[in-house]
Symmetry: C2
């Protein structure tokens, strides 16, 4: 009765052979036409017939078969783990994706949370990507990079606070963030500086270098005091309760969220900000501007995201070079009212 228009009825998937048959040509010709192969001249009527046949059948080429034949893929694999989830990260991801798409790569994310380093590397290698870009939050052992290289990956690139043996590295040197924050506090006359260290496990990778950067910037001129803190109110209240015993006049709070948490607890304890204690966060979140006092922060920028796609492309085309390192991160303090 009612004819359902879009009921593909479980039919077999159309192949280039079906297109060839319908167009009355050979499979070779179909390939030539659909790939716009310039090395061979096909008559216009034939081209049209092939195109129409493909459209009529709803033919879509089979990427696996293609790359099997070609001997290589144009897939760039991006394992994901504990997403840092900031808008910085999203923008970065999106720009990397569109940059690589422009160069005709297919970017694919692969959720690798819960896999150990070796299993994960094997799973990635099964997909035979041309390149793998591994965020710092995803475990990668030197053995993993070896597996990937053997499986034909032209480039293994790590992305994060620190490099991994045998892989290229896009570094986001988090020390700069700590350095920047402390330098800012020093300029404003503070000399006894706490540095919040989140107790959440995934964050140590970022927190440690930030602390190192802070220490480096202080270098003799100021005291640096690490302050463990969990991402909840009790922890912040407890820290605020013993604040005066710590004898600090400033705190770099890892990021804006921890800063907001701590600043609120300090204020609730009767400690004035910035009078008694200056507070600086990082990420320059919009929400920080809504607090009173407005939160000072460290703003991070990633340089040259398009050139990053070009870098990946270069590594894929000329593999086997020495591992390269590039530092992408730049940081600057944004002074508001809390410091």
């Amino acid at each position: 009765m009612s004819q359902l228009p879009e009921q593909p009825a479980e039919g077999p998937v159309p192949t280039s052979a079906d297109v060839a048959r319908l167009a009355g040509v050979s499979r070779a010709t179909v390939s030539y036409v659909l790939n716009n192969n310039a090395a061979v001249r096909i008559s216009d009527p034939t081209r049209r017939r092939v195109r129409e046949a493909a459209a009529e059948l709803g033919y879509v080429p089979h990427a696996a078969a293609r790359s099997l034949r070609a001997g290589h893929s144009r897939m760039v694999l991006l394992p994901t783990g504990n997403f840092p989830s900031g808008q910085l990260h999203h923008r970065f991801l999106h720009e990397l994706e569109s940059g690589l798409r422009r160069l005709d790569y297919t970017v694919v994310q692969y959720g690798s949370l819960g896999l150990d380093a070796d299993d994960a590397a094997r799973a990635w290698a099964e997909l035979r990507p041309a390149a793998v870009i591994v965020p710092g939050s995803v475990p990668l052992a030197p053995r993993g990079t070896a597996v990937l290289r053997r499986s034909g990956a032209k480039a293994v690139i790590t992305l994060g606070p620190r490099p991994v043996a045998g892989a290229h590295a896009l570094i986001m040197d988090q020390r700069k963030v700590g350095d920047c924050a402390v330098r800012h506090l020093l300029e404003r006359g503070r000399r006894r500086i706490g540095v919040v260290m989140p107790e959440e496990p995934g964050l140590a990778l970022f927190a440690e270098p930030r602390l190192a950067g802070a220490r480096q910037a202080a270098a003799g001129t100021a005291r640096i005091e690490p302050l463990p803190l969990r991402h909840d109110e009790e922890s912040a209240t407890a820290l605020a309760a013993r604040w005066r015993l710590l004898g600090l006049d400033a705190v770099f709070a890892y990021d804006d969220v921890y800063a907001m948490l701590l600043m609120r607890a300090l204020q609730d304890t009767g400690i004035t900000v910035p009078g008694e204690t200056a507070v600086v966060g990082a990420d320059d979140l919009m929400l920080g501007r809504l607090l009173r006092p407005r939160l000072s922060s460290v703003r991070m920028e990633l340089d040259t995201v398009q050139s990053l796609a070009d870098l990946v492309d270069r590594l894929v085309r000329h593999p086997g070079r020495e591992p390269e390192r590039h530092d992408l991160l730049s940081a600057r303090a944004v002074h508001r009212e809390s410091s």
Copy 2:
């Protein structure tokens, strides 16, 4: 001089034939052993020799070749667009991934931002996924689902506020959020309720149903007033400036972030919260608890995430059924101090 230990030297990628040669057996035997094929009995010494050869060569099977041969893949494709980026979404994603991994599927995310609906569907179809789960933020036309079905996808599932023709639907009915917020405000005696509508384009998909839910809950008993707002301070300040002209005694602010933005602007204008105007957000962010007054919110939960993986599995195994619908979202108001 210094012998680099992990320099795979651009050698050819080892195949099952190489493993067979090294182990002194046939390719078939290699396949039997490495896949633990129960239908055929292989002697233990042979098993060991094969395993050792594979390990020595660093052999990793080629997923594309395998699924080409098998005629189907176990890939679940998850296109990504404008990531909603809340922790709710991340947790959901991660649980879906591990649930599907447990069922031996490979979950792959494919960044589709900037592609139009038809191009995107074609790009997904090239990968020949067994199933595609399309978030509401990614465009999908009925034609797209047809292309995917023809390419062999057993299940096309949409994930978001509303269904798409021809596809199964995992619905997160955002009306519940608006309903819940307004019901809460009604209970607290408010009758003239503003509803913040973010002007950011991607959010309309969520904002509209929330407004609809709000209207539904108010149904005669209260006035509902949509309030366009951009995600910046000027916009909030402007809205606050004309607040008293609006004659509202409450506002449901779309989510906690917009709520914080607006609440701050209201307070800066001298409007008391909750005295003069009650404010309710959504998402129940931790940061909302740091404000004064603490922000009331609507907490959302996704039911049954593991069973969702099972659902995908069922649809893959028994395709071609009528499109199914499931509503995943539940919402409840969390009363704090701002309402």
